[in-house]
Each structure stands twice: as structure tokens, then as C-alpha cells.
């Protein structure tokens, strides 16, 4: 069972730029279950540690907070389920889910065969897997623990993109942007449904990193989302700073749901 002081974070996309930065910055603050597809994250873990080639016996501070690395293809429902079961078996709880796995293939609709062949994968990794993972955690662990969830400030953070908010012409982002837009709305619905058992859900939508904002600044924004109390919002992270877009809830009838 994990010690009470450190929150348990289930992080996907752990070997990506953002996932790696989050692990480097916050492995001392969280028990991180770091899920990756192919390349192991460049941080110390249960099966890897840093060594100084010129002083191989030296104890290194970088090895003090290993993550729990899990290799999995989250496109497989069986593997997704295995991940959640592994994390619960290892730590006994999950306090934070960060969906940071991403897949993109850019191309223009009338020219790019790559764009068309990647559609399912882009929507799956960027929108469907985050929902399935959060649903699995909710069903297996959160939904019967409403008081504990509120006390522990448990939440889901979906890493979206500004591409999911606006049309950026000529970049070939159509499928990626649509998948991220879907993720934004799924996050807002998730926030409404999960509030019944005291779990928050938010998205963060950064601009390009590390080109426009630093990867570390995005990781720090995620940390602030976890520490805060907001739910049902999209945190936009741009060159000018951060701003929240609150989710707009309306009744089904008034909204003309059909």
C-alpha cells in the first residue's frame, strides 16, 4: 500500500516530452504509474536506474524516487484493464489520472493518404482511450468512494491541445484537432458525471511545446490543476499565459438535444 503522503498518479504517455517532464519534476511528490507504449521513460523506475559511468558505485539523488513503469498498448481494452488492475494492486488506490498519451499524423484531407489511414488511431489514442481509462478507474475504484474521493481531491486531467479549440489553417491538423475537440467535450461530460462520486475532471489545452511554451510549464499547469478544486474546465496554456474556459452546462431540452 502506498504511503499516505504521496498521491498516486496514473500517467499515460510517460515517455513523451510532457510525460517525461512530469516524471522528472514530480516523482518526489507522487507515486507515478508511468505507462508507455514502446520506449521506456527516461527516468528511474523499478527496472532502471541512473549510474555515473565514472563512479558506478555512487548513490545518485536521481534514483531516490523511482516511477512504476508499465509497458502497455492502451489501444487494447485488455491491456488498458491490466494497467488499472496493476496500479491498484501496486498502490492500493488512484488519486489522479493524467491522460497524456498522444498520437498525431498531419496531412491535408484531399492529398494525404496518411491522414486517412490514421483516422481511427488518432481518435482512439487522443479521445477514446482517455475516456475508457477514466471509466475503468471510476468503475473499479472511485464510484463507491465519494467521501474519500472528495477528501483526497481525486481527479482526471486530460491533455488536450489548442488545436481542439480553433481551426488553424494550412497545418493539416484536421483529424488531430477534431479528436482533441472530442476530448474536450468528453472531459466536460466526464466532469458532470463524475461529480456524483466526488471526482473532478478537467482538460488542459497547451499550445505547441517546447516550441512556444516550455514543456515544464505545461507540467506545472497540470500540477496546479491537480492541487486546485475546479472541475469541468479547459485550461488553455499559451504564450500569454493561462486562462480557463468553463464548461457550459444546459438542460437537454433547452439545448435541443435530439
Amino acid at each position: 500500500m502506498a504511503c499516505a503522503r504521496k498521491r498516486v498518479c496514473l500517467l499515460t504517455g510517460a515517455s513523451g516530452k510532457l510525460g517525461s517532464a512530469f516524471c522528472r519534476l514530480y516523482a518526489s511528490k507522487y507515486h507515478i504509474a508511468a505507462v508507455y507504449r514502446n520506449h521506456a521513460p527516461q527516468v528511474t523506475a523499478q527496472n532502471q536506474s541512473y549510474v555515473d559511468p565514472l563512479s558506478p558505485a555512487a548513490c545518485l539523488p536521481e534514483n531516490e524516487h523511482p516511477v512504476f513503469a508499465i509497458r502497455a498498448d492502451l489501444g487494447s481494452d485488455a491491456e488498458l484493464n491490466r494497467v488499472v488492475e496493476l496500479v491498484l494492486a501496486r498502490f492500493g488506490r488512484i488519486d489522479l489520472v493524467i491522460n497524456a498519451a498522444v498520437y498525431y499524423a498531419f496531412g491535408h484531407i484531399v492529398e494525404s493518404s496518411l491522414l486517412l489511414t490514421s483516422l481511427e488511431a488518432q481518435f482512439n489514442v487522443n479521445a477514446l482511450v482517455p475516456l475508457k481509462l477514466a471509466a475503468k478507474v471510476a468503475r473499479d475504484f472511485w464510484r463507491n468512494r465519494d467521501l474519500e474521493n472528495r477528501r483526497m481531491n481525486r481527479n482526471v486531467i486530460n491533455v488536450s491541445s489548442v488545436s481542439g479549440l480553433y481551426v488553424t489553417p494550412r497545418l493539416g491538423h484536421s483529424a488531430y484537432a477534431a479528436a482533441k475537440a472530442a476530448l474536450n467535450l468528453l472531459t466536460l461530460h466526464m466532469a458532470h458525471e463524475f461529480q456524483d462520486f466526488g471526482v473532478r475532471a478537467n482538460a488542459c489545452a497547451p499550445t505547441s511545446f517546447p516550441q512556444i511554451v516550455s514543456t515544464e510549464s505545461v507540467a506545472r499547469s497540470i500540477r496546479r490543476l491537480d492541487e486546485g478544486r475546479m472541475t469541468g474546465t479547459i485550461l488553455v496554456i499559451g504564450k500569454a499565459g493561462e486562462r480557463f474556459i468553463p464548461g457550459q452546462a444546459s438542460s437537454g431540452a433547452a439545448a435541443g438535444a435530439t
Partner: protein, 260 residues
């Protein structure tokens, strides 16, 4: 053994290498050398590549007599100097030996490998094999007088030769234009029966990065087909006495072309 690392502190940029246990113990690191020294290594490699070594007819030709290994291979001799000479220096040898805590013999084989675009994947193997050396060390004690996989060449030259076994494999990646999907990685495997295309882990040939592992019966690895660009590397093997390997794993685990 000399002081490990003596002479290396100024050129090593990264003192945090990653020791991994899956699928077998190995060490990886990126940004190994300071950028100025790395550029010198690139230039030196490119100079050799532009010469005889890089010509298409040299593909598959090496002292290892492995025509199925789809690469140009140039084995360095003890006269080789310049920036690439760092890999056949005593400080480098001693650093790797200390890193793995092994009893090595100072017998070293170092080769430049160039896989032209579209080179075929290799085969899953473990590198635990015999090499024969005559005793002709350089002034720093490093002996590069490898006569090959059999004793015959040394005998034909009227010299005595001794068998040793590969102890540490090093692959240093340089002069590559690699990005995800390019291929050319080194695949790591759990079993000799694994398909080359289904590695348990892959090490991408990122420039100025390194892969190291102890040669054991279980250090299964293979080159993976490069789809988009050539794959270049410096490959190095350190060796150890055969008796210790036999005592640890048995003679049958060592690949020896002379064994009936």
C-alpha cells in the same frame, strides 16, 4: 587497472547513464560526449566513410566472415588514431570494465559499422562467442591483435594465439538522421527464438547515444532494418578469460566455430 575515467571527464557530457534490466541488463545514455568532441567524432567517421570503407562493394565484407550481416564493417587496428581512438583507449576500456564490474583481459575489437539505407534486419544472437588474440598490446596495454574467430590465421603467421570470450558489447550511434519510424534500431529480446521484428525493447540510433551490455547467454539483440536513412555506429567488444565464462555458464553456452 588505471583510474577509471582519467582523461574522460572533460569530454563526457552526460554523467547520468541509465542501467536497465529488461529484457536483459543493459546501459543506455544520450548526449554522451560534449558537443565539440562529438562533432569531431562525426567528422572522423564521415572521413572514413567517404573512403574505401563506404563503397557498395564492401557491403557484407568483414573479418567476421558473416556475409549475411548486411553492413559495411571496418575493423580498426592498433595504429588507428584521431578522435575515434577514444574507444580503443585505456581510460575508455577501464571505465566500461568498472561499469560492469567484470574481470576483462584488455583484448579489444573495435569496428565501424555502416548499414546502407534498406539494410536487412540481422538475426537474434547474444554475442557470447570466442575470439583469438595474439599478445601484441599497444603502449597503454590495450591489445587489438585479434586474429579472428579461429586460431588459423595466427598459426599461419607463425604466432601463438589465445582464446578469450566477449565480455561487453558497446554500440555508439553517430552520423545518423534518425526519427521515429526510420528503423535502424537495435532490438533487444528475451529469447533467441523471438522474431527480429518483435523485440521486447528497442534502442533508437540517436546521434551521440550509446548502448552497452554484458555478453551473457541471454543478451539477445539484433539490428533492425533501416527504412529511411543509413545507420552508422562504432561497435566495440571487450573480452574476458574463457575459464570464467565456462565456470559460470558452461562451455556449451559459448559460440565457438571450432567446436565440433
Amino acid at each position: 587497472m588505471s583510474t577509471p575515467g582519467k582523461g574522460l571527464t572533460d569530454i563526457l557530457a552526460n554523467r547520468r547513464w541509465m542501467r536497465r534490466s529488461d529484457p536483459f541488463p543493459h546501459v543506455v545514455a544520450r548526449d554522451v560526449f560534449a558537443s565539440g568532441f562529438y562533432r569531431k567524432l562525426e567528422s572522423a567517421f564521415q572521413e572514413v566513410l567517404c573512403g574505401d570503407f563506404g563503397r557498395p562493394e564492401k557491403r557484407g565484407v568483414s573479418d567476421r566472415n558473416l556475409p549475411t550481416y548486411d553492413a559495411n564493417v571496418l575493423v580498426l587496428n592498433s595504429e588507428f588514431s584521431g578522435p575515434l581512438g577514444i574507444f580503443i583507449s585505456r581510460p575508455w576500456h577501464d571505465m566500461l570494465t568498472a561499469l560492469f564490474g567484470l574481470n576483462t583481459t584488455r583484448d579489444v575489437v573495435c569496428a565501424l559499422h555502416h548499414h546502407p539505407l534498406g539494410s536487412a534486419s540481422g538475426w537474434v544472437h547474444n554475442d557470447l562467442s570466442i575470439r583469438w588474440f595474439t599478445d601484441a598490446p599497444k603502449s597503454d596495454g590495450i591489445n587489438m591483435a585479434c586474429s579472428g574467430r579461429t586460431t588459423h590465421p595466427a598459426r599461419q603467421a607463425g604466432m601463438k594465439a589465445s582464446p578469450v570470450v566477449r565480455a561487453i558489447t558497446m554500440i555508439f550511434y553517430l552520423n545518423n538522421a534518425w526519427s521515429s519510424g526510420s528503423g535502424g534500431e537495435t532490438g533487444l529480446y528475451r529469447s533467441a527464438q523471438d522474431l527480429p521484428t518483435e523485440p521486447a525493447a528497442v534502442v533508437p540510433p540517436v546521434n551521440n547515444s550509446i548502448l552497452l551490455f554484458e555478453c551473457t547467454p541471454y543478451s539477445f539483440h539484433s539490428f533492425l532494418k533501416n527504412h529511411r536513412s543509413p545507420r552508422n555506429s562504432v561497435n566495440l567488444w571487450l573480452h574476458r578469460p574463457k575459464a570464467g565464462v565456462v565456470a559460470r555458464w558452461g562451455e556449451g553456452k559459448i559460440f565457438d566455430v571450432e567446436r565440433p
